[in-house]
């Protein structure tokens, strides 16, 4: 049914992006003391515009052999390869990551609220206003 077009599919993409960004922020803060670690981030436009992630499947001589776990890379994830704030080569800016964490959380909550609102209004409409 095409009642789920437009805003709902955009909201879904936004939610996926926000979830990916949350994971990169968690990874960055987890590696705040690791030497020579470059901070990761997710690019919004690249994430939205990419259709599929790259999938690799194993060359199997028999179908009963187990395949690789396919999805391993996320579109739009990149490293800040030039920045380094510490003497040990670590590139994580803790203040920026904390700010991103808070911002991302608010963004995610807002999208969830909107999605919930749209789905509930569809339910109400379908039930005829009761």
């Amino acid at each position: 049914m095409s009642i789920f077009g437009g805003a709902i599919s955009s909201l879904e993409k936004g939610l996926d992006f926000s979830a990916a960004k949350q994971k990169t922020i968690a990874q960055n803060i987890a590696n705040v003391d690791t030497p020579n670690y470059k901070a990761k981030s997710v690019s919004f436009n690249e994430y939205l515009s990419s259709a599929k992630e790259s999938t690799i499947s194993a060359y199997r001589t028999q179908t009963k052999h187990i395949d690789f776990q396919t999805k391993s890379s996320t579109a739009g994830v990149f490293d800040y390869s030039n920045y380094s704030y510490n003497h040990n080569g670590n590139g994580v800016d803790m203040d920026k990551e904390q700010a991103n964490l808070a911002t991302n959380q608010i963004y995610y909550n807002a999208l969830i609220d909107r999605m919930s609102g749209k789905l509930n209004s569809l339910q109400t409409v379908i039930r005829g206003g009761s």
């Binding site: 009642i3 789920f4 996926d16 979830a19 999605m115 789905l119 339910q123 379908i126 005829g128």
Partner: protein, 101 residues
């Protein structure tokens, strides 16, 4: 000055409305039947998608939580929509059967 009579009704200027094709009753039935079938199929698809998402959630697989919740809501909405359409159709049928000839 001659006064021309004005005719209110000029048949040549009025195009009949019959440019739209009229459906015969059997064609109308067939279209609606197709519509209902596709609606039920899409409800089935969305239910299956929601089940797949729930399976992935249970097995700790490759999915986000909001995707699971959204899939379940979508299948619920599709199901409700189809049920309501069915109810309205049945009600319309009963309304028509109640008409006294």
């Amino acid at each position: 000055m001659a006064i021309e009579s004005v005719s209110l009704f000029n048949p040549s200027q009025i195009n009949p409305v019959s440019t739209t094709s009229k459906l015969s009753p059997s064609e109308a039935q067939a279209d609606f039947g197709d519509f209902l079938k596709t609606a039920i199929q899409s409800v089935n698809e969305s239910q299956k998608a929601s089940d797949v998402a729930t399976e992935k959630l249970i097995n700790g697989g490759n999915i986000e939580l909001h995707d699971v919740m959204i899939a379940s809501q979508k299948s619920s909405i599709s199901l409700n929509a189809t049920l309501e359409i069915r109810n309205k159709v049945v009600e319309a049928y009963q309304e028509i059967m109640r008409m006294q000839v």
